[in-house]
Amino acid sequence: MRTISGPRNRVVLVQLGLLLLLGAAWLISASTPLAEQWPWAQDVLPHATSTLGHLATVHQAWLLPVGAVLAVLAALLGIALLISQVPSAPSTRALRVTDEQDHLLGTVQPEVIERALVDVAEETAGVQSATVRIGGAASAPWVQAEVAVSEEAEAGWAAEAVRRRLAEDLATVLGTSPQRVDLLVRLRSGGAPSSARLDSPAREASVPA
């Protein structure tokens, strides 16, 4: 299942929020007698009588290049923030099956097991469709699945049955119980599937042209 990093977004929002508050406090300090009360801070605090042009002239040597660098950084941060809103899935790689001496016996592509587990999930009564994703190592796999269950079906029973089958079948294939089996249940109206196939492929093939 694809997700967006919430903690990363929160960190960026907190930092920008604090920067804006600091900038606002600096601007407001010009209208207060803060510079007179704190003589040691006179160099960094603005004076009420100063103009923006005067401040720019005084700090001309560094203000323009630093401003240009900050502008580039702001644009890059904006691009990075926009790109990070594209949902990403946790990385998966081929599962390496080893014996007790840690000798490689073979590798299994996760997609192969995922397809089999989708079939298993969709065989459960009440389940209309399913998607399965597995990851981790062969010795410590995890499963994340999403099933659409008919509202009319016993959703609780169906969800428990799917989770149990996923855990058991993965344990049978890899010889290890999964670290976690996550299941997102979507309740869908209408009990019947949208399409049905009556003829088997073998029977179709036997029909003369």
Binding site: N9, G17, A74, A75, L81, S91, W142, A155, D182
Partner: protein, 182 residues
């Protein structure tokens, strides 16, 4: 990318404030790169913004405009901080806990819709609106009959049954309000 999947019942990722912030940063950063780039390379401000910059250069630091700008910046800063700190309701709720490690989750929208479907079958109910907010399943029932209290009891029982079947891990209490229609 992490190798472990995120929890299904995580808090909202703040996509909207992050998107808006990203767009604003890109726009302002791009504008500043252009203005300062022209100034650094050609030694003069771009023609399109020259008069505006000259006006800004003459503004005193205690001018009303500067104070208003500071106020707007403070307000935006507070909004960003609140957007990051206030946890918000998770979109999915953990249900049907059992001995298998991991979690089963259902979206709050699906929980509300399931309750609504069940309550719509209750005798005397004309229409139903339901939504999950915090620890409450809030149900608004419209009925044309006089026995509103009876309708409320039956609707509450149907909502409780719909919730009980899903066994939410954290308490979710149904609250039913009945409105009489003519």
């Amino acid at each position: 990318m992490s190798s472990m999947p995120d929890s299904l019942t995580r808090r909202p990722p703040r996509t909207v404030p992050a998107l808006v912030t990203g767009i604003v940063l890109l726009a302002l950063g791009g504008l500043a790169v252009w203005i300062l780039g022209v100034r650094l390379i050609e030694g003069t401000w771009p023609e399109q913004v020259r008069s505006g910059i000259e006006t800004l250069a003459g503004v005193r630091m205690d001018a009303v405009g500067v104070l208003v700008t500071a106020g707007v910046m403070a307000l935006l800063g507070l909004i960003l901080l609140l957007a990051a700190i206030v946890p918000g309701d998770p979109t999915n709720r953990r249900v049907l806990e059992d001995e298998i490690p991991g979690e089963t989750a259902v979206s709050t929208r699906d929980i509300a819709r399931r309750a609504r479907t069940r309550i719509e079958r209750v005798d005397g109910v004309q229409s139903v609106a339901a939504r999950v907010k915090g620890k409450t399943l809030d149900v608004q029932v419209s009925t044309p009959i006089d026995d509103a209290e009876g309708v409320r009891h039956r609707s509450l029982a149907a909502a409780d049954l719909a919730l009980a079947e899903l066994r939410p891990t954290k308490t979710l209490r149904a609250r039913v309000r009945v409105r009489r229609t003519r």
